[in-house]
């Protein structure tokens, strides 16, 4: 059929085949389509398993999929082999979920950053172990329900981008699939920088966050607008906010997801206070050197 051919060509061009095994409304395949569009064909993708892999499996470029205890480390080997072969033309992307980046492979990502390995380290963050059925990770936000935090998570989300920035790597960026232009600009920038680049994007997970898949982009956009997930980059130690939305109650974001529905008013107030603090701090530091 003519239409099928048209779509097949489109999938070839965007380096990812439609029909992933991801849930409806998952931000994963969207994440990769946006990234691959600007990464281009000369890319090697090394990535960890579970959720992220559901999308990675459909990628048409060379990929090496492995378990999430292996974040960044295999890519370190690939980077070394590329140096040996003098292949400076290839972009090496190392991807990991929030569980790999924040928990089991935290040390590996940190060590690769310390060695300043030449790769773009990506965190595809859906804020819990989703593929195993929604278990809490170090990047699950405060208060969120998961199957291992039935009363809501007690601790806050780890600030991985800031922790990575403290490794004095050349580039750190946060992004959101709700803002494709900002997202792609940051990937393009990362691609042009030598050394370890860290790119972190929260992606929507209707299944684990408990909302209607149709609202995926709406919810993730609310995350940025309420400053739950601020968008910034840190280049050469200097912080730059790339999106400075007006203050909007965090409740708008929390109410949109049933993983937060058990929160008490006090807990919401607490989250609001924390978010305000973060917002004010970021606005104060905008344009300034924050890494010394």
């Amino acid at each position: 059929m003519e239409l099928n051919k048209l779509f097949d060509e489109y999938y070839e061009k965007s380096y990812i085949q439609g029909g992933t095994t991801c849930c409806p409304g998952c931000g994963g395949p969207l994440f990769w389509r946006l990234a691959l569009e600007v990464l281009g064909a000369n890319t090697i993708l090394y990535g960890d398993g579970p959720c992220a892999y559901c999308a990675i499996r459909n990628i048409k470029l060379p990929t090496f999929g492995i378990h999430f205890s292996f974040a960044a480390d295999g890519a370190t080997g690939i980077a070394a082999a590329l140096r040996v072969k003098g292949r400076k033309d290839i972009t090496l992307v190392s991807s990991a979920g929030d569980g790999a980046t924040g928990d089991i492979s935290f040390g590996k990502v940190s060590a690769a950053a310390e060695r300043n390995e030449n790769m773009i380290q990506i965190c595809v963050d859906n804020e819990a172990y989703m593929n195993t059925g929604v278990q809490k990770s170090g990047l699950t936000p405060f208060g969120a329900w998961t199957t291992t935090t039935p009363l809501g998570k007690e601790a806050p989300k780890k600030e991985i981008p800031m922790i990575l920035a403290q490794h004095k790597i050349p580039y750190v960026a946060t992004a959101s699939v709700a803002y494709p232009k900002d997202f792609q600009k940051k990937i393009i920038k990362a691609k042009g920088i030598e050394g370890f680049k860290y790119f972190h994007s929260v992606i929507p997970c209707p299944t684990g966050w408990r909302f209607d898949p149709a609202k995926s982009i709406e919810v993730i956009r609310l995350g940025v607008q309420t400053w739950a997930w601020p968008l910034y980059e840190i280049e050469g130690g200097i912080l730059k906010l790339t999106m400075k939305p007006k203050r909007r109650p965090i409740e708008d974001y929390l109410k949109a997801q049933n993983r937060f529905r058990h929160l008490t008013d006090d807990q919401v107030k607490h989250i609001q206070a924390m978010t305000d603090q973060k917002r004010e701090r970021l606005l104060q530091q905008d344009g300034k050197r924050i890494i010394f």
Partner: protein
């Protein structure tokens, strides 16, 4: 030259391109030697100073899928720490070479050698070749690349040698000539999994699981012959060879044999020579290849000798019958109609010395078993006896 230096030179002469490694006693001298060879410009390789053994193996895997020749080394707790990653290279058919510098596992054991650290990886799919001295280490490292990279094999290889007794003991060692090694070992051509853009070969789907596992098993089957073939070719070129998977030493006309592995073989050679001199009918079999296991070779031994005594420098808790090697030997011999006696010894556990007196004791016990036709116990923990004066 000690064993660690020999291994470093083996890697250098083999032109290993990427070396991800993390230090652990008694392997440290090996990797600092490599760092020194690189910094002095003698060796041209990327040395990745990783933050742990799990990463060392993972980086080795990454470098290998991108087409580099990879060498690394570890020991004991380090091997255990990377175990998850150790399953990948055989499954992905990556010919990584990793020296396992044998050291006892904690907590009952020290920094000194026994073979449990490597033997507990026996099911991962790695080829394991146990070396006796520095010369064998350097030669085996070079051979390992040739074996692992052979199109018919495509498997990772672990040259194993005892910490301290081999790793830190200097013995006269000939360093092969670089151009000779270059002729013997051509540059690595990536036969299986390849991740480079444009050359990318995807792996089979999950429906092929049994078939893929069978392929690894078949590769081990083929490796038996190839280990011998490579050893012979090495012998022709360099004048030294190691008789493939097992070596029979001073066995002519013997009624029984002791089977040893690793550094204790050197001690055993002296003891056996002396005992043969006194007319005792016992020979020595050095087990070099533990994986693939020389099953057929042991069946041949089983037909030739009345008793086979396995000296295990390891133990398998709860097995109720000898160490790991003896279990493998028993399995091999079971198929024979007329089975020899199987005598099991455990000695040198946790890195204690295996003395000449202990070897003499084991030889005598074995000969007694031949005489009486009976084996005294399922397994003899040699170190629990007071054997008196050294031989």
């Amino acid at each position: 030259m000690d064993g660690n230096e020999a291994a470093a030179w083996g890697a250098k002469l083999s032109r290993a391109e990427v070396i991800p490694a993390y230090p652990i006693t008694p392997q440290t001298e090996l990797i600092s030697q490599i760092a020194a060879l690189i910094s002095e410009g003698i060796m041209d390789a990327e040395y990745i100073k990783v933050e742990g053994e799990h990463t060392a193996m993972a980086a080795a895997i990454g470098a290998s899928v991108a087409g580099a020749r990879v060498f690394t080394a570890s020991a004991s707790q380090g091997i255990a720490f990377m175990e998850e990653a150790l399953w990948m290279p055989p499954g992905r058919r990556l010919p990584i070479v990793m020296c396992m510098v044998n050291r006892a596992m904690a907590p009952i054991g020290g920094l000194r050698p026994d073979h449990n650290d490597a033997l507990m990886q026996r099911d991962t799919g790695w080829i394991q070749l146990y070396c006796e001295n520095s010369q064998e280490v350097i030669d085996t490292v070079i051979q390992s690349f040739k074996i692992g990279e052979d199109k018919r094999v495509c498997l990772p290889v672990a040259p194993c040698y005892d910490g301290y007794f081999v790793s830190a003991t200097a013995t006269p060692t000939t360093i092969p000539d670089q151009s000779e090694v270059d002729d013997f070992l051509p540059p690595y051509v990536h036969e299986m999994y390849n991740i480079m853009p444009g050359e990318h070969k995807p792996t089979g789907g999950s429906s092929d699981i049994a078939k893929a596992r069978y392929e690894v098993e078949k590769a081990h089957e083929r490796a038996r012959g190839i280990i011998e073939e490579v050893d012979k070719e090495f012998g022709k070129r360099f004048g030294r060879c190691y008789d493939g998977l097992i070596e029979e030493y001073n066995c002519d006309g013997a009624e029984a044999v002791l089977v040893t592995m690793g550094s204790m073989t050197g001690t055993a050679r002296d003891v056996i020579d002396e005992m043969r001199g006194k007319g005792k009918s016992i020979g020595l079999v050095k087990l070099k290849g533990f994986r693939p296991f020389p099953t057929e070779e042991f069946r041949k031994l089983g037909k030739k000798y009345n008793a086979i005594a396995v000296v295990d420098r390891n133990n398998s808790y709860g097995s109720a019958g000898g160490g790991i090697v003896s279990m493998e030997v028993a399995r091999a011999l079971y198929a024979l109609d007329d089975r020899p006696l199987l005598v099991n010894f455990q000695v040198g556990l946790g890195g204690s010395d295996v003395t000449m007196r202990q070897i003499e004791y084991m030889a005598e016990e074995t000969l007694e078993a031949v005489e009486t036709g009976k084996v005294k116990s399922v397994v003899d923990w040699v170190e629990l006896h007071d054997l008196g004066e050294v031989m």
